[in-house]
Symmetry: C2
Subunit: 133 residues, 2 copies
């Protein structure tokens, strides 16, 4: 995701100094978590992922999988058959993360309504213009 740099960027330097961000870059991205969750139940094929993750494009599925593979979070196994069959599976490292991810989504479930209300209230307070005329 950050190849092709001409030199050492401020980002890179900072990443070195900041483990916190380093993690999140791995789990952030629009689709990583959903892929991790979808693959949690065992080996899963490319098309199965594509179908089970609603709204993802082929391109993003590929890109995200490549990044996860690069970070050692998923393995990619190509079966030399015809038609081709490729299976993705979580590594043990990723499976450890999975527990935390569940904790995250659980937190979300529990508070999503509250947060939604908070948002609505905030947006209400900060409306377009007072305009009392």
């Amino acid at each position: 995701m950050s190849r092709g740099n001409t030199g050492v960027t401020a980002q890179a330097v900072h990443a070195e100094a900041c483990p916190v961000r380093e993690v999140l870059d791995r789990v952030a991205g629009k689709w990583s978590v959903q892929i991790l969750v979808a693959a949690a139940h065992g080996p899963i094929r490319f098309t199965e992922l594509e179908r089970s993750i609603d709204g993802i494009s082929r391109r993003m599925l590929t890109l995200t999988l490549r990044n996860l593979e690069r970070d050692g979070l998923v393995t990619r196994t190509v079966h030399p058959t015809v038609p081709p069959k490729v299976e993705y599976e979580l590594t043990t490292v990723a499976r450890e993360l999975h527990v935390t991810l569940l904790s995250l989504t659980d937190w979300a479930e529990r508070h999503r309504v509250t947060i939604a209300e908070s948002r609505a209230a905030y947006d209400d307070r900060h409306r377009p213009e007072p305009l009392d005329a």
Copy 2:
């Protein structure tokens, strides 16, 4: 972050259908987690945050704080003094998240080396060009 839409976007529709992404949007962003962590020990002032979070710009600190406030994850208290004093504090909802966040950063700490190696190995395997001549 997504105001000013002219209509119901695909994103919005999807967010409604997908709680998973909904959470992460709240915690993603480049600085949210670091702010949440920095504010975990009690009320903290704007400038203190700015100093404790290395590399953050004033703009992003403000923006991220506003979003966290909007979602009800931090409270903003203005003390009408001169010079002004503003304190940010985590809400109970956010404090629950904090535990999970620690779990995340802990995971990162434990695997950061492995992941870094995985990356290096991957990049090595997928070098510029074989070019055996």
